[in-house]
Symmetry: C2
Subunit: 192 residues, 2 copies
DNA sequence: CCCATTTAGCTAAAGTCTTTAGGTATATGT
DNA sequence: ACATATACCTAAAGACTTTAGCTAAATGGG
């Protein structure tokens, strides 16, 4: 009966790895049990069920991504920071497609509020400080950037840009450049 | 044994409605059978299985969305067209969240090529013509717009902007305005 | 050190969904 | 009217989820 040492922590982590390998949608309590060479029902001592497992992975991915972005942002500002943020985001999605999918998993309001989601918004605001936008423009910009990063990378991963030139990387750099210009244009202008 | 008149067509359509009601992920052959008051196995004469049903719904949604956009675009150009496109897209997602989710369902390369996906790209290019961008800038812009629309609306539907002001609509209008300015700035400049 | 308690992981079982195989009754056309 | 095609059925096997109750391994106090 040799104990394997299951914990909620380890299961969530292994679930994230499994997601990267087979896709977030294919993450299943059964598959996870197989991975630990343990009976399915045994997992139910550590995880309430399939739904909780998935939101656990989502929270993990959200936090990990926020950490990555935080690290990438250290000591940078302005366009340099914007570019670092964007690339950290895209790189994470490409390295960990399953976790990235997990990060998009819908959370109920309460869980979302306690997640790293708000931290993502704060990180974006930190970048925008350099562009000196008035409210509510800064909020609009937070949402625009969130949308662009999320949407562009999702389309790229889905293969939407495959088989057509130029390659996605160039469009990504172009987009960052364009967003930087856009934000500079919208900086507070005293005259208006 | 009264025949109900199942067809692949009707099943896909009903699947799309079901998706809007319970979520695309919850669309299941069994649920669809219940909806028609028919034995589950009966559906297998019309649909190869769960996977095919879902890609069918995805193709349906993609085409329907392209139709909506086409209609919205009729007789418009420039910023007016950009705004009409964007709003048709967002309105569709809000009216039909399940179909919108379906439209994001990953398709294999061959299916994607035969889908309305390329039509979406063409529609975007039609709008961009007014902005007179050189290649490869136009392609970059197609991808940027695709990403923004997809990403922003996804975040909004997921509740990412809920419980915070200003409301999503205003950020959306602001984003369209900003993108219009961005594209005008990038128009071909003979001098460079 | 051993016994009591906790608990990690087990077996059993019921419910749902998917999918295949083969049967029956309803349309359709000659 | 009858033969053919087919729309929908029953039956059954396999996978995943979840609950209930059991057993044996760890842990700690006397």
């Amino acid at each position: 009966m040799a104990r394997v040492g299951l914990t909620t922590e380890r299961l969530t982590r292994a679930g994230a790895e499994l997601a990267d390998e087979v896709g977030f949608a294919q993450v299943t309590v059964s598959a996870l049990a197989r991975r630990f060479d343990v009976q399915v029902a045994s997992l139910y001592s550590h995880v309430k069920g399939s739904a909780e497992l998935k939101t656990g992975i989502a929270l993990f991915a959200l936090a990990e991504l926020a950490d990555r972005v935080t690290e990438a942002l250290a000591g940078r500002a302005g366009k340099d920071a914007l570019s670092a943020f964007a690339n950290a985001y895209r790189d994470y999605a490409r390295e960990h497609p399953g976790r990235f999918a997990a990060a998009k998993h819908p959370l109920d309001a309460e869980t979302a509020a306690a997640s790293a989601g708000p931290r993502h918004a704060q990180l974006t605001r930190a970048i925008l400080r350099a562009y000196d936008l008035d409210e509510p423009d800064e909020t609009h910009a937070v949402r625009l950037l969130g949308g662009v990063f999320q949407g562009f990378v999702t389309l790229e991963l889905a293969g939407g840009f495959a088989h057509s030139s130029p390659d996605a990387r160039q469009s990504w750099d172009w987009a960052i450049e364009a967003l930087d210009a856009l934000l500079r244009n919208h900086a507070t202008t005293d005259g208006e």
